[in-house]
């Protein structure tokens, strides 16, 4: 029996699922009132109050997605904010990064300010953005933008600075004009750096959206969590966190797909020639 299920490449998925199941079983056993004598709390309902009950959490998710179907509008808003923040941050970072990297004078002037803005804890801007842009989508996009922008900016800056001088000289000898150099040499080099940080920047856009919603909004998954917290509904809070986690995994998977498609010109470690 053990030889069949021993951890190996083939049974990897099985073991991963088993870890998940074990966590939920442990959670269930520790929180269900009256199942085992209370270890930490005086009252056997207190564990359920603080940590939620897996069965009720899944019931909540079930009503959200299947019976009531009321989570889709919230998910949609969160997704929209994430995508908009990601797109705006990437484009902004790309343009400004290219500009500052290619214009040494501008780069030298703005350098200390870029560093200062980057080291500022930007989540603190969320309330300000709520005042500036209202409680709608715009303030969340703005927060996500500030998070994504610097990741992309520094990667583009690095990408442009690290263009191989030989490739650059070669392109110039092949007759590339300044615009052609920008489009055919600097941009591909910079985007390769942007893609290497794609997972981080999509993740941060998502964080920006949820944190923004949590701090003040009328829609979105962050808003659902905030509402539930207001009424001490720990099961709904946990359900919201589960949904966000699953959602983040889906986003990450989608980014991975895009990445492998667009970065196929980059060598991967250990890749051999396919004949």
């Amino acid at each position: 029996m053990w030889s069949v299920i021993r951890p190996s490449q083939k049974t990897l998925r099985l073991w991963q699922v088993m870890v998940l199941v074990a966590v939920f079983v442990f959670w269930y056993a520790m929180t269900t009132p009256g199942l085992i004598p209370p270890l930490m709390f005086e009252n056997d309902r207190q564990a359920a109050f603080f940590f939620g009950e897996p069965i009720k959490i899944f019931a909540r998710v079930w009503t959200w997605f299947i019976t009531e179907r009321d989570i889709y509008q919230h998910l949609w808003v969160t997704l929209l904010e994430t995508v908009l923040a990601f797109a705006a941050g990437t484009i902004g970072g790309l343009i400004l990064g290219m500009w500052l990297a290619l214009s040494p004078v501008a780069g030298a002037i703005f350098d200390p300010y870029i560093k200062a803005l980057n080291s500022m804890p930007r989540v603190i801007l969320a309330p300000i953005f709520a005042v500036w842009f209202g409680l709608g989508i715009a303030s969340k996009v703005a927060l996500g933008f500030t998070l994504v922008f610097f990741i992309v900016f520094f990667n583009v800056y690095q990408g442009v600075k690290e263009v191989s001088p030989t490739v650059l000289a070669s392109a110039r000898m092949l007759g590339a004009s300044r615009n052609q150099l920008l489009r055919h040499v600097y941009l591909p080099s910079a985007t390769s750096w942007v893609f290497s940080s794609l997972h981080t920047s999509v993740g941060l856009a998502f964080v920006g959206a949820v944190v923004g919603e949590y701090l003040g909004s009328s829609r979105g998954v962050g808003y659902l969590i905030l509402q539930a917290e207001g009424s001490f509904d720990i099961n709904t809070v946990m359900a919201g966190i589960l949904v966000l986690t699953a959602f983040a995994l889906v986003l990450d998977w989608a980014v991975g797909r895009v990445e492998t498609h667009l970065m196929k010109w980059q060598p991967r470690a250990g890749e051999t020639e396919k004949l």
Partner: protein
Amino acid sequence: MGERALSAGPPQAHRAPPRGAGAQQPGVSTPIAALALRGVTCTFVSRDTRSQRYTAVEDVTLHVAPGEFVSVVGPTGCGKSTLLNVGAGLLEPSAGQVHVFGQPLLGINRRAGYMFQTEALMPWRTARANVMAGLEFRGETDAGAQADEWLKRVGLGGFGDRYPHQLSGGMRKRTSLAQTLVLDPDIILMDEPFSALDIQTRQLMENEVLELWAAKKKAVLFITHDLDEAIAMSDRVIVLSAGPAAHPMGEFVIDLPRPRDVAEVRVTPRFVDLHKAIWDVLRDEVLKGYAQQKLVA
């Protein structure tokens, strides 16, 4: 035969007078050189400390006639690549002039193709797209067809859709060669293009280049530290002294018959004589260059 002499002679005679006024410097009155460096000096100044200077090459004068294959040999670090970059227009000399077919060179040398020592292919383009790049920059419409033809000519017909990292070193060099030659440049500049290749691939590539050169008869300026390679391929070998302030030490006309096979020509008596004569000049410089590098390190 007579016809060729006739067709080769008059255009030069015709072209000479209008440019004669500009080309009054001594030694260049004879046929207009494809590439002419006159009194070129390159001094590099350290970015941090202005007082630290390094003169790589000093007062270098050299000409490459149209259709001529000229090699420059010299010890490592003597500024051979600097000369080539000056000829390419990638580097502006501190002093001296560069003329391309009689015209002073301003900016990039549009009539030259450059084969670099290190990897110069764009890693985000396939071999075919890399060969197409120059044609695309020029806005030519049949870039694809020309690229396919050149890939076939360098023996990479079936590898057009590979990315550079999926090709071997020799294949990448051949792609570079196709990338340079597809533009049909009048001058080809080569900076130790085969130094990274193993000896067998290297000889194959050298023969290939000689074959392509024989068919098109372009002016070639070939930089190498390998004297055998220089003699086997060139019409003329120029020996550069050790740096700093490297300058031409001697010039040797290689009168070995063509077509040559780079492997076979090495064992002919004439080759051995030439090698000995050039090596006599080069040896001291190599030792000098080596001693200087040891001093720095």
